[in-house]
Structures are given as C-alpha cells and as structure tokens.
C-alpha cells in the first residue's frame, strides 16, 4: 500500500475521532445516542474485505482512546475484538454486501460496548448493565448500522479505487 494512502486513511481516522469527541457532543447531548464514527468506519472497512482492516481498526481505536478517560488501548481493544468476532460472518456468508456491512457493524457494536462496559465496572464505575444495554447499546444497534450505510457507499468506492490491483 502506498504511503500516500496510509496517510490519507490515518488522517480520516483522526478526523473521525476528533469529530466524534468534539462536534457530536455539541449537537447530540445525550451520550448514549451518539454514533461511534471510528467504530463504524473501521467495521465497514473490515466488512468490505479491505487489506489490513484490523490494523486500521486498532489505530482508529487508539485515536479515539486519546479522547477518553479510559486508558489508551481499551477503545482499540474493543474494536479489534469486535472485528475478530465479526469475522465469524465469513462462515455464514451474507450475499447482500450492504447488509453484510451493517450486520458486521452491529456485531462490532455489541462486542466493543460489552468490553467498555466491563472495563467501566471493573474500575469502580458502578454502571447499571441492564440500563446501559437498553439505553445505550440497543439504540446504537439501530443507529450505528444505519450510519454504516452511507459509510458503506463511500468506502466501497474508495476500496474499489485504492485496492483494485491488490
């Protein structure tokens, strides 16, 4: 992969993480209703079968980690683990590509949020698991896959252009 592409992808991930932390909270004040932009982008990227998707998921997660009170690595770990588990979709192939991308995103959302929730509870934050599941994870199970649709359209074109010969 050319260095130019690497830099572009890194810049996009950095921009998404900054927008997720600085811009979305201004317009969407309820924390649970904010889409996880980095998670969505990296999940769709992985669902499309792009090269080094896991590496991008890890780096994107690290950038998001910089905007969190969680120690660096937790957000990244959640996304990486989510994408690893979402690989199981390979065993039950979904022929419709956009549906595959949204299902992939939904799966990563559940796994990543479970990791973050477990971390919060393990470090003295008495987060109500049932309430979090209903007020955060459940709405995001709709919101993140929905937001994954435009991401799918955009990234599908990008991957076709970037990796046509690979």
């Amino acid at each position: 992969m050319r260095l130019r592409y690497v830099l572009v992808i890194l810049a996009v991930l950095a921009a998404l993480s900054v927008v997720e932390s600085s811009v979305l909270p201004v317009f969407l004040t309820a924390a649970g209703s904010r889409p996880n932009l980095v998670l969505i982008a990296t999940s769709v990227w992985a669902a499309l079968g792009a090269p080094y998707a896991l590496v991008w998921a890890f780096l994107g997660g690290l950038m998001a980690d910089l905007n969190s009170a969680m120690p660096p690595g937790i957000y990244a770990f959640g996304i990486v683990l989510g994408n690893l588990v979402a690989n199981l979709i390979e065993f039950a192939p979904i022929p419709i590509r956009w549906f595959r991308a949204t299902t992939w995103t939904a799966l990563v959302t559940v796994i990543a949020h479970s990791v973050w929730l477990a971390y919060a509870n393990a470090t003295g934050h008495s987060v109500d698991v049932v309430l979090s599941a209903t007020s955060v994870i459940l709405p995001l199970l709709l919101l993140n896959p929905l937001a994954a649709l435009p991401a799918f359209v955009a990234l599908d074109r990008v991957t076709k252009r970037l990796f046509a010969g690979m």
Partner: protein, 294 residues
C-alpha cells in the same frame, strides 16, 4: 479482511499490541505516550468545538433571539451570584445557630473549659484541611473542548493542563460556583474532568437547612443521588446541598444541587434522595478549575 499469507501474523501483532497497551494503560504507564498527542489534539479540538458551538448557536435562531439569549445569560449569571450568596448566608445562619447552641452549652456548664474548632475530616483522613491560607480561591478558566467517547464514563476534556498548573483532584466549578466535578487526568495541554454525574464520582455533601451529611454520586442514567445519610438525620425536599469539605479533597460550600425527591423508606439502613444538580451538564462550555487548595 486481507487474504495474504501475512494475515495471521498481522492479526497476532495487533492483538499483542492491543494487549500491551491495555496493560500499560491499566498500570498508568501510558501517560508519556499520550502527552505529545494531547498537545497536538487540544488546539484542533478547541477550534472544532468553537465552530460547532457557533453553528449550533446560529441555527438556534435569529439576531433577536441572540439578543434575548444574551439577556438571559446576564440574568442567569446574576441569579447564579445571588444563589451562591444565598447559600452562603444560609450556611452562616446555620453556623450561627450552632455557635449559639455551643454558647448555651458553655453557659449551662461553666465548670467546663472549651476550645473552638472546625471539623476538618472524619476518621483517619490525614492532615488535609489544615492549610491556614485565606479562602480566596484562585482558578484557571477553561473551555470544554470534547466529551468522552465512551458513553459509560461522564468526563469532559478542557483546554488547560499540566502547563497551566492543573493537577489531579482539583475541583472544577461552573456558573454560580456550582460544582461540575474534579480533574481526573492531566495531560500537558488538556485535562479530563470527571463530572459529578459519573458513576465513579463520590462527593461528601451537607444539606444547608437540615445539616444532614451524605455522599452524592452519579447514576448510569445521568442523574445524581444522595446516599449514606443516616436514618437519624432529616432530609427535606428543596434543601440545598453544598460540599461539606470533609476529607479536605474539596473546598466547603460549593453548591452541588437541590434535593428533588426522597426515595428511601424507613426500613432502609440509610436515607436516599434524588438530587437536581446546580449545573446543566449537557450545556457546560466554560468552567473554572480551582487551582488553590483550601
């Protein structure tokens, strides 16, 4: 995912890296890694946050509305000052009542020799609170530039850090000196503020009117709850809660909120109540970090 023969190696490498970072993060060894990023990110976040706030403000209405908003802000600022003054006056009133009781006691027991003192802590909390400095608290003004990406933690990022003299544990206040939270993490150019509504936040408080003491902590739904109030103490809806200063971690008399609803029953060991915070946590833009410890 990539189909090359290097795939298992890359996967393994990413997992190992993620695990190493996880361990570094949990043991606090990642602060040095974060420092350069915080310096680079803070101005960018600050600029983006300002633009987003400006757009949000512009879309909210016309210039007439802006004028009204300005007037409302002024009125709110005035109200905040008066509210703080009111809290302090009520606190002084309660203190005077206590001193009167003590005076009555010493008059009723003339054979005792008495020495006046302030309560500075409970149990073995160490030497905190003995600083004789005046109560003129100096602070660093800060703008909120980001929110936490994790929906399970209630933190915000402010644009002041170690280079501005900010340290972990310093109190952060908003309009009317209402307590917003405490500094949770400090980077070179930015800091993470743990909001009162975070589920890991616990603040010692005292009711202004009834003098009941307890702990205020955050709940998952973003509300505040008053806990650990002994059954022998009285709770009153509408009573204001201020920081008690016990343990010395926070200054006394910072407004925390108002008792909204008492939720406990007589059968419970401790009383509980829902608290309406004195700060709107969804709309905080500028805060003051109190850098001088009481």
């Amino acid at each position: 995912m990539q189909r090359s023969s290097a795939r298992p190696l890359i996967t393994l490498g990413v997992i190992v890296l993620a695990t190493v970072l996880l361990i570094l993060g949990l043991t606090g060894g990642s602060a040095a890694l974060e420092a350069p990023f915080s310096v680079a990110l803070a101005p960018l976040q600050s600029a983006l946050s300002t633009v987003a706030n400006a757009i949000a403000g512009a879309t909210r209405g016309s210039s007439d509305v802006a004028e009204l908003q300005n007037r409302l802000r002024e009125a709110e600022a005035e109200r905040d000052v008066l509210r703080l003054e009111n809290v302090r006056l009520r606190e002084f009133q309660a203190e005077v009542a206590q001193y009167r009781e003590l005076l009555n006691f010493s008059r009723a027991n003339p054979t005792y020799s008495v020495v006046g003192s302030d309560v500075i802590g409970l149990g073995s909390t160490g030497c905190a609170g003995t600083d004789p400095r005046p109560r003129d608290q100096l602070g660093v003004c800060a703008s909120v530039i980001a929110g936490d990406v994790s929906p399970y933690l209630r933190y915000v990022v402010v644009n002041v850090g170690a280079r501005d003299g900010v340290k972990v544990g310093m109190p952060v206040v908003g309009g009317g000196f209402g307590l917003v939270g405490r500094i949770g993490q400090v980077a070179e150019a930015s800091s993470q503020v743990q909001l009162l509504v975070d589920t890991g936040s616990f603040i010692n408080v005292q009711a202004v009117e009834t003098r009941a003491t307890g702990t205020v902590s955050g709940r998952t739904d973003g509300s505040l709850v008053l806990q650990n109030v002994p059954q022998t103490e009285e709770l009153k809806v509408g009573d204001q809660l201020v920081t008690s200063g016990l343990s010395g971690a926070l200054p006394r008399l910072l407004p925390v909120g108002t008792i909204d609803r008492i939720t406990s029953t007589d059968a419970q060991l401790f009383k509980e109540a829902i608290v309406r915070p004195s700060v709107d946590f969804n709309r905080i833009e500028t805060v003051l970090v109190l850098t001088v410890k009481p």
